[in-house]
């Protein structure tokens, strides 16, 4: 099956793609491959309160997606505090594993109602640019 390269400027390097046809999106399938993690290395990172937003093209379906890696989210009220924002820093060890999944909003045949994306998932490691 021919693979289309990702669009330029979307943050993902060229990775093998799989599709049922050139116009039809891939069916939903929970799947992981080593190439997915390698492709996600090119994701763009943008700062968010308590973390970063990773965005780029899904290594499997090539649709634009984003994944928030943050240290805190709102769940319930808590005691007032003076600061809510902050840039996420890696742990003292320097690198941390981040589990990611495709979160594209495109249609994928066979996708259960409570699922999102095309089903692809992978792990990356996030760490300082300079050792």
């Amino acid at each position: 099956v021919p693979d289309d390269p990702p669009e330029p400027g979307n943050g993902s390097p060229s990775v093998p793609q799989s599709s049922t046809s050139s116009n039809e999106p891939l069916p939903f399938e929970p799947i992981t491959r080593d190439e997915f993690a390698a492709a996600a290395s090119g994701f763009i990172m943008k700062p968010a309160p308590g973390g970063v937003i990773l965005s780029g093209s899904c290594p499997r379906c090539d649709h634009v997606m984003e994944f928030a890696h943050v240290t805190e989210v709102f769940r319930s009220i808590r005691l007032p505090r003076f600061r809510v924002s902050g840039r996420h820093e890696p742990s003292a060890a320097g690198w941390e594993k981040v589990s990611m999944m495709c979160t594209c909003e495109s249609e994928h045949a066979g996708r259960p109602q409570d699922e999102e994306g095309c089903g692809a998932y992978w792990n990356i490691k996030l760490g300082p640019a300079q050792p």
Partner: protein, 215 residues
């Protein structure tokens, strides 16, 4: 600190579940904080209505009858309560509906860059959650101050000292007792001292205050 991404270890089904849970938490946090703020706003409104009902129980209602410095103190407490209540209402509204105003489309992710919208929603959710927490804290402070002010007004010391009210054929006299000698009661009133012949008194009773009772 600049960050960089490198490929991680092989993913398992557990990693997929973890990723899905985190994504859902982030995706739903803004609607969740809005819904929570609406619920808390309604709850606080009911609580305040109950507090107003509590005020129907009558006690002293005139702050001017309080002895110094309680009158001024009640005024300061009431003002603080008003400020806390106003700030709380604004914070709860901000948490429930956000700030009214325009936003830049570019900053909201409409420039083909979805990550900025996600970051914006996450930031807004955290700020709204913070506003909700502060708003609730200030609401409770407002209520506590209001109850303190009402209680102090009811039970605070009176400006006027208790006195004796004497009814005589010539009229009613009321004042603080200065002395009693040979059937003559000397009372201290606003304009000085008066003497009342108790042998002619028709009635005698103790009163909390003599304000405005002397002719």
């Amino acid at each position: 600190m600049n960050l960089r991404i490198t490929p991680g270890p092989a993913a398992s089904a557990t990693d997929r579940i973890a990723a899905r849970q985190i994504h859902r938490l982030v995706k739903h946090e803004l609607p969740q904080v809005r819904a929570a703020a609406l619920a808390w706003r309604n709850g606080i409104g009911v609580l305040l209505a109950g507090l107003i009902g509590f005020g129907l129980l009558k006690g002293r209602t005139d702050v001017g009858q309080l002895a110094a410095p309680y009158g001024a103190l009640v005024g300061v407490i009431l003002l603080s309560s008003l400020l806390a209540g106003t700030a709380a209402a604004l914070l709860l509204l901000r948490a429930a509906h956000g700030y009214p105003g325009t936003v830049s489309l570019q900053s909201q992710g409409q420039d083909h860059d979805p990550s900025s919208r996600s970051a914006s929603d996450h930031s807004e959710a955290l700020h709204a959650g913070n506003a909700l927490s502060w708003g609730l804290g200030l609401c409770l402070l407002c209520m506590a101050l209001l109850v303190t002010a009402v209680g102090m007004t009811w039970y605070g010391p009176s400006k006027d000292k208790p006195g004796i009210e004497v009814n005589t054929p010539g009229g009613t006299r009321c004042g603080e007792v200065v002395r009693l000698a040979e059937g003559q009661l000397t009372l201290k009133i606003d304009s000085g001292e008066i003497t009342v012949d108790l042998r002619r008194a028709e009635a005698l009773k103790a009163v909390d205050s003599c304000s405005g009772q002397n002719p």
